[in-house]
């Protein structure tokens, strides 16, 4: 069974290498935040914060947090208000809000550092206020990926480790001031592969779900080189793990082949299911209880898996009845009807870029934001290497682009993860 999975995965990556470049994904959205974040922006957001990878020779070449004005009533709508450089280039990737929404934690996959930005003192002008640099020393983990708010704490899922830079990794728990509290290894027994990617919590059921990708040794390598390495090709995640949230102990390992990435619990009251997309198999998976037992089931297909569209990010609507899916290779944004989560139905698709990665939506679902970059060494090249954040209107039938910020022209780098901001969230 495992060798079959590895075989499919290897084939998928080989095809990707042949046709272009592959992908990763990310966490975003007003509808996809930690349930412990109470101050959701339910009206018009004012800002989109974009965590951008530095590009050598472009601007200062460093990773930076970019603030874009997205309020249509503003005179500077659709333009960059400012950026905060961290002074290094560490494969900037994902961000997360603290539970009080006063800070953004952000990091890169090439270093065990976490940057903390104050977005409350002046939401239009974030400030870098702290760097948490002890994760490797404390845990041995490398490549912090997901930053998930718990009350007064941040749970950080890493992708790799400093020992062999493979995919066996774990989670680190910090308090909101950046003091290390504990670490939790991803299970390597009971069917676990030890890999990590995303995490998401359902507090009403006391469960934490994690997914799995691959380690530094793979995600930092050029793809063409990677796919020729048979041993490296075996080292991708094929599991999800259900944890007892309170005890932070694994309860069950699910076989989910093909690198399951983003995890979204339905925000709808009374729903207790989560959905994820497996990048390399292009499948949607549903996790829910059946006769009291948690199960993971394949429930849908994204595009034509034979063409490896590579789903890289998903965004669930606030009522849990719709799901946006971005597929990197074909630059397509797709919408699935989740009225029956056990049978998602594709109802819309549109090419929104030559390469697309992250997708975030406003709370009311009327505005959708899309960025372009996956990883520095995995993005497309030449004219296909568009780097942008694009804003769209969604009227329930069609996406209409309303602005674009060209990150290359603005000398900002590769646009990756997004979080929304509002002037009204300024601290008193």
């Amino acid at each position: 069974m495992r060798s079959q999975r590895i075989g499919r995965l290897g084939l998928a990556l080989a095809i990707l290498a042949a046709v272009g470049l592959p992908a990763l994904a990310a966490r975003a959205d007003e509808t996809c935040n930690s349930p412990y974040i109470a101050k959701l922006i339910k009206g018009q957001e004012d800002y989109v914060y974009v965590w951008a990878l530095g590009v050598e020779g472009l601007g200062d070449g460093s990773d930076k947090l970019v603030t874009v004005d997205v309020n249509p009533k503003s005179k500077t709508y659709g333009t960059v208000l400012g950026s905060v450089s961290v002074g290094t280039r560490g494969e900037a990737h994902h961000m997360g809000l603290t539970d009080d929404r006063r800070f953004i934690w952000a990091g890169g996959l090439a270093e065990p550092k976490i940057y903390v930005f104050d977005i409350a003192s002046d939401p239009a002008r974030p400030k870098l206020v702290r760097t948490v640099a002890d994760m490797a020393e404390r845990t041995g983990y490398l490549g912090p990926h997901t930053y998930y708010a718990l009350p007064g704490r941040m749970l950080v899922q890493a992708l790799s480790n400093t020992r062999d830079k493979g995919g066996v990794t774990g989670m680190a728990l910090y308090n909101n001031t950046g003091e290390f509290l504990a670490s939790y290894a991803m299970p390597t027994d009971g069917g676990g592969d030890g890999y990590g990617y995303d995490l998401a919590v359902n507090p009403k059921k006391n469960v934490l779900l994690t997914s799995s990708f691959t380690g530094y040794a793979n995600y930092m390598r050029p793809l063409g080189e990677l796919v020729k390495d048979a041993e490296a090709m075996k080292k991708f995640g094929n599991t999800m793990v259900l944890w007892d949230l309170k005890a932070m102990k694994p309860r069950k390992v699910f076989a989910v082949p093909g690198a399951p990435l983003e995890i979204r619990w339905s925000p709808r009251a009374g729903d207790d299911w989560a959905i994820t997309a497996a990048a390399l198999t292009s499948k949607l998976w549903l996790v829910r209880q059946e006769q009291g037992e948690w199960q993971a089931r394949e429930v849908g297909t994204i595009g034509d898996p034979a063409r490896i569209p590579l789903p890289v990010d998903i965004s669930i609507t606030r009522d849990g009845r719709g799901l946006w899916v971005n597929t990197f290779m074909d630059g397509t944004t797709r919408y699935f009807d989740l009225s029956r989560p056990e049978a998602p139905k594709a109802t819309y698709s549109k090419v929104t870029g030559k390469q697309v990665n992250m997708i975030s939506q406003s709370w009311d679902g009327k505005r959708v934001y899309i960025t372009s970059s996956l990883l520095a060494s995995w993005d497309k090249t030449g004219a296909d290497n568009e780097q942008f954040v694009r804003g769209f209107k969604w009227d329930g039938k069609d996406l209409t682009q309303v602005f674009e910020v060209d990150f290359t022209k603005e000398k900002l780098g590769r646009a990756h993860h997004m979080k929304l901001g509002a002037r009204s969230l300024k601290s008193s």
Binding site: A38, R102, E179, L181, P203, K246, M248, S428
Partner: protein
Amino acid sequence: VRRAAATALLAWLAAAPARAHEPALPPLGFEPPAPGTYTLHRIMRAPAGEVLDLQGRARPLTDFTHGRITVLGLVYTTCVDPEGCPLTLPVFEAIRTAVGERPHLRPHVRLVSLSFDPERDTPAAMRAYAGRRAQPHTSGVPWYFLTARSTRAARPLLDGFGQDARSVVLREGGGTRREISHILKVFLIDQDGYIREIYSSTSLHSRTVLNDIETLVAAR
């Protein structure tokens, strides 16, 4: 809807003394791990500072965060969000009742409701809010109601707890109403003054708090 829910909750609270032994809250949606089978980390130290008791006397907050296991809720008395401050009252009532039924816990636990709206929540306002809850209880578990001398005096306490609070003015029925935008936080503090758990509206339940208290007591 929130107004209606708040009204229903307040009505429930008014009738609470007559239903002291009834289940106070909806059932927990899961079976929590047994006490002592998990770790409650030292998240951070509870802050120190000056507070006012119901008689308006200045007291160090450490008097209420050391020596016993403390369940401390940061609240303001005019909050109407049913998932906010009002939620602490039935949960604290249930905790007090449950601890009272466990003699090995009784001497080790206290409850604290600390206002972060001292301009409106004067000691007199806190007395009205507390009612009979502040009086000695058959459970033997004290419940203290505290406020601060001023907003300025409360600020370092809020910062120390990591509690955000922002004043907002809402227009309603031709008038205005001031509310404090915040997320509910209730703190479990050990006998040495370390915060060991933080509950939000999605995780605050008397059963889990009780298990956490048992876990701390067993670890002594």
